[in-house]
Homo-oligomer: 539 residues x 2
C-alpha cells in the first residue's frame, strides 16, 4: 500500500468523523423536537427486521433514509440548486471524496450505507429539477413516488392472482379504462403492462405475426414467407430492434418517408407496400407514430388505417409519447383514428409523469396475448386453484416474473382524477407554445420547424457569434453541427439545465426541448434560452 | 341508484369517519411525542411539490405513508399475523369495506389515498412473512427496500451515463464482480441487468443465434437453417417461450431426459443432438439449469460443457435460482463447470433476497451484446458527447428505457458483505435440510426425492386419513392428486402459511417448499407440517 492510499484512508476517516459530527448535531436538533435518532455507526443490517426486536431499528433506519430522500427532493425542486454535479466516468470510478463503488467481504454499518445513499444522489442527475428537460420522462410525482414505495414494500410479482390479488385487478381495471379512452368498445380489448415502450412495441410485432401465422409459435419462421414491416423514417428505433430480435431482419422494415413536419406520408406508405410486394415480401404490419421522438409529430392515423384496412395489415400505433394527450380534451383530437388501431403502445411514464417504468401495450383482439405467449407452466399456473384462474394473467406475457408497475399509476389517477392528468398535459403543451413564441421573438435562435408544435417537442438551433455572418452552406452547417454538443457539454459541466440534441435527416445537430416535467414554468423556458446564449457567447 | 347503493355509500362515509377518528387519535398520540401530523382530508396532490411551498406537506405525506408501510412491515414479520386475507376476485372487484378500484374524474384528497394504501396492503399477500414459502422470491430485505426507495426518488433511466452516471458505473462494477464469482477471467465478460430471468434467458438464445449467424440481425431467420435448441425436461419454460418469441419455434426445443433427481442426463443430450441433426436441424444452443424450478436440481455442468465443446454449441447456464449458491463457500461446488458457460442467468432477486426485480445475464464474449442489439439511435446515443460514450450502455439492450435494478443489490452488498450473502444462503439450505429430516421422521409425509436436497427445494406429499389404507395404484394417485390443491386452498382461506404445489412428469400433485426467505426459522417448518396435518384431518 502506498502512502497515497494511507493518506486517502485518513481523509476518508476524517470525512466520516465530520459526517458523524454533522449527524450528532442533527440528532441533537432532532432531540430538541422530542424525537430520538439512533447512532447507526455500530448498527448493521442484521439488527433490522426480520431480526427479533428489529422493529424499532428498522423504523429508525428507514426514517433516516426518508429524511435524506426528502432533502434531495426539496433540493431538486429548487431552481437555485444544480441539475447535476458532473463528473467523468474515471473520476467517479477512482472515488470522489470517499465515495467508492467497491463492495466489501464484511458487512458495513448502516451509517456508511446512509452516507452512500447521500453520495449516490449527490453524483446523480436530478430528473425532477424544473430545468431537467432532457428526456421524454422527467419530473417527480410525489404520489407516484409513494406508489413505488408501497410497491417495493409489497415486493410481489404480477404473474398470479395468488400472490398479487389487488395489483392484478388494478391492472385489469386500468387496461379497460385506457382501452375505453383509446375509443375501443367494451366487447374488445386486452393488454398488459410491460417494462418500457420498446418491449410494448415488440409485443405489437409479435402479436401481429401470431395473428396472421399462429403456426410460428411452434414451427418458427421457417414455415413463414419473408415478412415486411412499415414504419416512418422518424419513428422510434424500437420497430427495427423488434424486427431484429423476432428474427424478421431489420432490412425488412421499410422506412416510410415523412413530410416536413415529420408525419408519415400515406401515399409513400402505399408505395412502400407495393414495392415490398414486388420484391416478393409479404407486408403484414404497419407502425404509425402518435408523437415522434424528436419532432413530436402525429402520423395521420385515419389515412394510415384506411391503407391497413385495404391491404389487411396489422395497424399498430406507437403512442408511447403521444398517448398522454388522450387525457386532454383540448389535444386528444391529434390522435383521431387511434381507435382503428389493432394495438397501441402508451407509456404513462412519459407525458403523464408516472415514475419509471410504466408502459402499456393495448391489444384489440381479446385472447390473442394469451394464445400467443402461453405455455401453461404447471408449477405456476395450476388449473385446480380455489379461485377463478383466468385472473392468473402471467401467461399472457413473454416474461415470467413481472414487476408491479400498475399501482403508482392507479394511485396517481386517484390523486389527480382524469381531469388532473388533462390539466398537466395542457400545462406542458402551453410551455411548448411559450418556448415556440420566444424562439420567434428572440434573435439568434432558429426554429427547425416553422409551424406551432403539436406536442411538447420544440426543436431549434442557436447561432453563436462566429456563425452569424456566415452564408448558408456546407461550411456553416459543419460548424453549426458542433454548436449544440458544445453548449450541451458546458450545460452539463455547469449543471444549470439539461436539454437534448441530435441531428435528423439532412439537418445538423439541433436542440430538442421536451416538456413533460410538471415542475417546469415559463421562467425556466426564459432561463434556458438566456443560458444557451450565455454559454455560447465565445463560440 | 338503488337503496343498496345509498346504504353502501352511507357505510363508506361512516367507515371513513371512523378512520378519521382513528387518525385523530393517532395524531394526538403523535403530538404527545412533539410531532405534528397534518389533516390530509382537505389536502390534495396539487399541494405537494413541485407546488410552491409544498416541501412541508410533501414531507408530512410521505412520512405518513412510511408509517403505514412500517406498520405493514412489522405486522408481516409477526408469526401471529396472517400471511394473507384471501378474497375471490369478484369480492375484491365488488368493493370490500369501501375499498374500490374505481378511478375518479376529480381529484381525491390525500386522506383517501392513505386509506387506499392501507387497503391495498390489507388485501394483498405478505411476501415477507416468515411463513410465505410460495415462490423462489420471498422475504423483504430492509436495506434492499431502502435501495428501491432511493431508486424511485432518483427516477432515472439506465440507457445513458448522461442521466445515470452512478448507476451505470455500479452496473459495470457489479457485472464484473459477478463474472469473477462465476469464474471468468478479467479479459472476458459482459452483461446487463434485465427485467426477470425469462428475459435473461431470452437474451442467451438471442446472443447464441447472433454469434453463429450475425446476418440474422438484418436479414432475419429466412437466411438461416432450421435451428435446434436443447434443454432438460425439468428446465424452466422460458427456453421454449424464448424460442417461440425469437421465431425458432417451440417444437425445435428438444427436451432432454432427466435422471430421478431431476438432473439432465448427458448421454441423453448427446442422443438428442444426434437426433436433431438427423432430422436436418442445426443444433446451436444448450441450456443447462443450475437449480431447477421444482426440484432445485443442478445439471452436471462439466459433462454438458464437454458435449457443447465437442459439437461447438453455445452453452448457457440458467442459474436464475441456483446462482445465489455461488455466494456460499459451502455450496458453490454444486455449480462446478459454470465457468465454462458462454452465458449465465443469475437472479439476485431469488436466493439473494434482493427486492423484485433484479436479474442479470452474463455473457462471456465481450462486445457481443452491443453488436447484437445496437441501432445507434442518434437522439440518445450521440457520439459527440463530452464524456467517454462507451459508458452509454443502453444500446446493449433490446429495451430502450430500462429500470434501475442495480442500486438495491449494490446497497445490500455493502450491508452484508459477500460473507453475509453466503451466510444467508447457508441458512436457507439449513432450513431445507431440517425440513427434509422432519419429513423422514414424521408419519404420513412422503418425500418425492429420497436424497438430501441440493438446493432449498423440498418436495413431498401428505397422505390424509382416507388415503392411508389404499394400495398404491391409479385410484390412490387420482385421489392424492387432489390433496395438495385442497390443502393449499384451505391454507389460503385461513391465511396461515403459503407453499406451492404442482404435478411433475408421472408424479401427481405434490408440495414444493422453497426457502429463500431469511425470516423463516425452524419453528416455521414445524408449523408448516403441523398445519398441513391439521388442514387435512378430514380429507
Amino acid at each position: 500500500r502506498s502512502w497515497l492510499n494511507v493518506f486517502t484512508d485518513f481523509c476518508c476517516s476524517f470525512a466520516t468523523s465530520l459526517s458523524a459530527l454533522d449527524k450528532e448535531e442533527h440528532s441533537a436538533a432532532v432531540e430538541d423536537k422530542g424525537q430520538t435518532s439512533a447512532d447507526f455507526s455500530r448498527i448493521y443490517s442484521t439488527d433490522l427486521l426480520p431480526a427479533p426486536g428489529g422493529e424499532e431499528m428498522t423504523g429508525e433506519f428507514l426514517k433516516e433514509l426518508v429524511n435524506i430522500l426528502l432533502a434531495y427532493i426539496s433540493k431538486s425542486s429548487q431552481r437555485s440548486s444544480k441539475v447535476l454535479d458532473f463528473h467523468h466516468p474515471h473520476q467517479l470510478k477512482e472515488g470522489l471524496e470517499c465515495f467508492t463503488l467497491d463492495l466489501p467481504d464484511k458487512p458495513e454499518p448502516l451509517e456508511q450505507l446512509l452516507v452512500d445513499c447521500r453520495d449516490t444522489l449527490k453524483y446523480g442527475v436530478c430528473t425532477g429539477h424544473p430545468r431537467f428537460l432532457n428526456q421524454l420522462s422527467s419530473g417527480l410525482d410525489v404520489v407516484g413516488l409513494a406508489g413505488e414505495w408501497l410497491t417495493s414494500a409489497a415486493n410481489t410479482n404480477m404473474f398470479t392472482y395468488e400472490v398479487s390479488p389487488v395489483f392484478v385487478l388494478m391492472e385489469e381495471f386500468l387496461l379497460r379504462k385506457m382501452q375505453s379512452i383509446v375509443g375501443w368498445s367494451d366487447d374488445v380489448g386486452d393488454g398488459i403492462f410491460c417494462p418500457g415502450g420498446t418491449i410494448s412495441n415488440l409485443y405489437s410485432v409479435l402479436l401481429a405475426r401470431y395473428h396472421f401465422y399462429p403456426e410460428v409459435k411452434t414451427m418458427g419462421m421457417g414455415v413463414l414467407p419473408q415478412l415486411a414491416l412499415f414504419t416512418s423514417e422518424q419513428s422510434h428505433y424500437s420497430v427495427k430492434k423488434s424486427a431484429a430480435v423476432l428474427g424478421m431482419g431489420s432490412k425488412n422494415v421499410f422506412m416510410v418517408k415523412c413530410d416536413d413536419s415529420g408525419k408519415m406520408i400515406p401515399s409513400e406508405l402505399e408505395s412502400c407496400i407495393v414495392a415490398a410486394d414486388k420484391k416478393g415480401l409479404v407486408p403484414f404490419y404497419v407502425n404509425a407514430t402518435a408523437g415522434t421522438t424528436v419532432y413530436g409529430a402525429f402520423d395521420p392515423l385515419d389515412a394510415i388505417a384506411d391503407i391497413c384496412q385495404r391491404h389487411t395489415l396489422w395497424m399498430h400505433v406507437d403512442a408511447a409519447w403521444g398517448g398522454g394527450l388522450l387525457m386532454s380534451d383540448r389535444h386528444k383530437m391529434k390522435l383521431r383514428g387511434i381507435e382503428r388501431a389493432w394495438s397501441v403502445t402508451w407509456n404513462p411514464h412519459k407525458m403523464m409523469g408516472v415514475p419509471l417504468q410504466c408502459s402499456v401495450i393495448l391489444v384489440k383482439k381479446r385472447g390473442l396475448l394469451q394464445e400467443c405467449n402461453d405455455f401453461g407452466a404447471e408449477y405456476l399456473f395450476q388449473t385446480d386453484k380455489i379461485y377463478d384462474v383466468s385472473y392468473d394473467t402471467g401467461d399472457k406475457s413473454f416474461q415470467c416474473g413481472r414487476h408491479v408497475d400498475v399501482f403508482k399509476l392507479w394511485l396517481m389517477w386517484k390523486a389527480k382524477g382524469s381531469e388532473g392528468f388533462g390539466a398537466q398535459v395542457n400545462k406542458c403543451l402551453e410551455n411548448a407554445e411559450y418556448l415556440y413564441d420566444q424562439l420567434q421573438r428572440r434573435t439568434h435562435f432558429e426554429l427547425v420547424l416553422k409551424n406551432k408544435p403539436e406536442h411538447s417537442n420544440v426543436c431549434f438551433w442557436y447561432i453563436p457569434p462566429s456563425l452569424r455572418s456566415l452564408p448558408p452552406g456546407p461550411d456553416r452547417d459543419a460548424r453549426l453541427h458542433q454548436v449544440a454538443p458544445r453548449i450541451k457539454g458546458r450545460m452539463m459541466e455547469k449543471g444549470s439545465v439539461m436539454i437534448g440534441y441530435q441531428p435528423l435527416g439532412d439537418k445538423v445537430n439541433f436542440f430538442r426541448c421536451v416538456f413533460s416535467n410538471p415542475a417546469t414554468q415559463q421562467e425556466d423556458v426564459d432561463f434556458l434560452l438566456e443560458e444557451i446564449a450565455r454559454l455560447a457567447d465565445d463560440l
